[in-house]
C-alpha cells in the first residue's frame, strides 16, 4: 500500500484534555472508516489532517508534505467538517460558487463545477434559497458538496451522514463508495458501526485518543461480536417471542420492560440472533413493531473491549 496519509507519534491535547495520543497510521487509496465513540479523537485527527490544528507532538503528512500552512495541498484535498456551519446570509449557490472560485476556478468552469456538486447532493433546485432556510440535512449535504466540488484526490468526511434522511444517506454512501472505486482516498468518520460497515471493510478503531485496532472489518467485527449485545424488541406478544428465543444458545438473557410490550435480549452473537429473529418473524408470523440496539452506539462495545 502506498500511503497517501502518514502520521507518526501524532499527539494533540487541549490544555489538560487529551485529543489524540501517539497515533501511528498509514492510509492509502480506497475508503477507510474512522470509527469510535463520541469524544474518541476522530475529529481531532481529521482536523489535524485538514490543516486546522497543529500536532503537539509527532507529524502528519499528506502526499509527503506537512499540511498546516500549506494551502497548495488543498487542490488535492476535500474536507467536510462536522460543524453545522455556513454563511447563512448567502444562498447555497453563492456559497458553493465562492468556494469554487477560491479553488481557483473561473467563469463558466466555476459555475459548472458548482452546479455539478449541488446536483450530486440534490440541492440544485434549492440553490437560490438562503442557507439559513435550509434544514439540518440540507446544510449537511451542502457541506459535502463543498468538499467534492474540486474532485479531490483525498476526501475527508467528518460524520457526513449525521442528520441526513434515509434516502440521501444511501445516495451519499454510494457516492463515497464510487470515490473509493475511482482509486481516491476517502477517510470517513462515524460512531455508528453499520454506517461504516456498509461503505468499507477497512476500518480504524479509535478510543480515548488512541488507535484501538486497525484493519479489515471482519477481524474487528470478531472482536466486537464477542461483546454481548443488547437488543430491544417491541411487539404485541413479548412473552411468546421470548419463549421462542430463550432456547437458542446465543441468547444469554431476556428481560421484560415495565410497559409489557418490550423485551430486551442479551446475545453473544448478534448476527446469529438477527437471523433467528427474522426467521421467527417470517415462519411464525410474529408481529414486531420496533427493534432497537442500545449497542449501536460504540461506547458500550469499547467499554466491553477494554474491560471496563
Amino acid at each position: 500500500m502506498t500511503a497517501v496519509l502518514k502520521s507518526e507519534k501524532l499527539s494533540k491535547w487541549y490544555g489538560n484534555v487529551l485529543g489524540i495520543s501517539d497515533i501511528n497510521l498509514e492510509i492509502g487509496s480506497g475508503i477507510t472508516g474512522l470509527l469510535g465513540p463520541n469524544g474518541a479523537g476522530k475529529s481531532t485527527f481529521l482536523k489535524i489532517a485538514a490543516g486546522q490544528l497543529k500536532p503537539k507532538i509527532g507529524s502528519l503528512k499528506i502526499f509527503g508534505e506537512e499540511i498546516f500552512g500549506n494551502p497548495g495541498l488543498f487542490r488535492r484535498i476535500g474536507f467536510c467538517p462536522e460543524h453545522d456551519s455556513a454563511y447563512n446570509e448567502m444562498s447555497g449557490w453563492q456559497f458553493i460558487l465562492l468556494l469554487a472560485r477560491l479553488h481557483g476556478f473561473a467563469g463558466h468552469e466555476a459555475e459548472a463545477r458548482s452546479e455539478k456538486a449541488l446536483l450530486t447532493v440534490g440541492l440544485l433546485e434549492s440553490k437560490d434559497r438562503q442557507i439559513k432556510g435550509y434544514s439540518f440535512g440540507m446544510r449537511q449535504r451542502l457541506r459535502l458538496a463543498s468538499s467534492i466540488l474540486h474532485e479531490p484526490e483525498i476526501l475527508m468526511l467528518d460524520e457526513p451522514l449525521r442528520g441526513i434522511d434515509p434516502l440521501w444517506r444511501i445516495k451519499i454512501m454510494q457516492l463515497i463508495k464510487e470515490y473509493g472505486k475511482q482509486g481516491r482516498t476517502v477517510i470517513v468518520s462515524s460512531h455508528i458501526l453499520p454506517e461504516i460497515e456498509s461503505m468499507t471493510s477497512e476500518i480504524v478503531l479509535i478510543h480515548q485518543g488512541k488507535i484501538f485496532a486497525k484493519g479489515d472489518i471482519h477481524r474487528i467485527r470478531g472482536l466486537i461480536d464477542s461483546h454481548p449485545h443488547q437488543i430491544s424488541i417491541r411487539c404485541p406478544e413479548p412473552r411468546q417471542l421470548a419463549q421462542k428465543l430463550i432456547g437458542s444458545d446465543f441468547v444469554l438473557s431476556v428481560d421484560f420492560d415495565k410497559d409489557g410490550r418490550t423485551l430486551t435480549v442479551k446475545t453473544s452473537q448478534r448476527d446469529h440472533f438477527f437471523n433467528a429473529l427474522m426467521g421467527l418473524i417470517v415462519t411464525d408470523k410474529l408481529a414486531v413493531e420496533e427493534i432497537t440496539s442500545p449497542d449501536d452506539n460504540l461506547q458500550a462495545v469499547f467499554d466491553y473491549l477494554i474491560g471496563k
Binding site: F74, P81, A86
Partner: protein, 262 residues
C-alpha cells in the same frame, strides 16, 4: 483550468454579504445620528432659533468629535475585530482555510471589504453632515477642500484603527473588550497627558490633520502643538501597515480551535 485571482473574489463576496448582516444595519443607523443632529441644527438656524453660522459651528465642534472620537473608532473596532472572530463564532473559518488560498489573502480580502464598508458608512454620513453645515457656501472651493481633508483624514483613521483591531481580533477572542478599553481609556486619557506621551495615541495624529487651530473646538485642545501634517499622514499610514502586517503574521500562524473537540 482557467485561473483567477482570489483576493477580488474574497473582497467582493464579503463586501456584498456584509451589507446583509444585521450589524451593518445597526451601524447605518448609528452613522445617521450625526446627520440627524446636523439637520436639526440646520433647520433651527433657518428658522432663526439658532444664530447665523450656528450649524457650521456645531459641525466643527460636535460633529467632528462624534466622528473622529466615537463613530470611526467604534466602527473600526466592530468591523476589524470581527474579521476573524466572526468566522470563529460561526465556525465558518474552516471553509476559508481548507481552500488553496493563503491565509494572508483571506485576511486581506476580508479586511478590504470591511474597511470599504466602514468608509462608505462614515463617508456618506460625513458628506451629508457637511452639506447641511455648508449649504450656504457650496460654491466656495475652500469648502470642498475642507471636505476632502475631512474625508481623507477619516480614511486614514479608519485604516489605522481597523488594522489595529483586526490584529487584536486575530490574536484573541475577546478583543472587543480590549478595544473598548483602548478607545475610551487609552485614547481618551493619554491624549491629555503632558509631554510626548500623547503621540502614543492614534487620535493625536488624526487631530493633527484636522484644520481647526488649537484652542478652537472643544475636543481639539492640545497641550502639545499638533504634529506636522506630513508626519501625521506617514505615522497613520505606517502604523496601519504595521498593524496589518501583524494581523497577517498572527493569522497565518495561529491555530484556531472551533469547538468542543471530539
Amino acid at each position: 483550468m482557467k485561473k483567477q485571482s482570489v483576493l477580488p473574489v474574497i473582497f467582493a463576496s464579503f463586501f456584498k454579504s456584509g451589507f446583509k448582516a444585521k450589524r451593518t444595519r445597526v451601524f447605518i443607523l448609528l452613522s445617521l445620528i450625526p446627520v440627524v443632529l446636523m439637520l436639526i441644527m440646520r433647520v433651527m438656524e433657518t428658522a432663526g432659533s439658532l444664530r447665523g453660522g450656528g450649524a457650521a459651528d456645531f459641525f466643527a465642534k460636535a460633529t467632528l468629535v462624534l466622528y473622529f472620537q466615537l463613530l470611526i473608532p467604534i466602527l473600526a473596532l466592530f468591523f476589524g475585530s470581527t474579521i476573524v472572530n466572526e468566522e470563529l463564532d460561526n465556525k465558518t473559518l474552516v471553509y476559508l482555510t481548507t481552500v488553496p488560498v493563503r491565509r494572508r489573502t483571506v485576511l486581506l480580502g476580508k479586511y478590504l471589504a470591511d474597511f470599504l464598508q466602514a468608509f462608505l458608512l462614515v463617508g456618506s454620513g460625513f458628506l451629508l453632515c457637511f452639506l447641511a453645515a455648508s449649504i450656504t457656501r457650496l460654491g466656495d472651493a475652500a469648502a470642498w477642500e475642507e471636505l476632502g481633508l475631512f474625508l481623507g483624514t477619516a480614511l486614514l483613521a479608519l485604516f489605522c484603527y481597523s488594522a489595529l483591531f483586526t490584529a487584536a481580533g486575530a490574536f484573541m477572542k475577546k478583543s472587543i473588550l480590549l478595544g473598548l478599553f483602548f478607545v475610551f481609556g487609552w485614547e481618551s486619557v493619554v491624549q491629555y497627558f503632558p509631554g510626548v506621551t500623547q503621540k502614543f495615541t492614534i487620535i493625536h495624529w488624526i487631530k493633527s490633520l484636522l484644520p481647526v487651530p488649537p484652542g478652537e473646538g472643544g475636543f481639539l485642545i492640545f497641550h502639545l502643538q499638533p504634529s506636522p501634517a506630513l508626519e501625521s499622514v506617514l505615522m497613520l499610514t505606517g502604523a496601519g501597515l504595521l498593524f496589518l502586517f501583524l494581523a497577517v503574521f498572527i493569522f497565518e500562524r495561529k491555530e484556531y480551535i472551533l469547538s468542543d473537540n471530539a
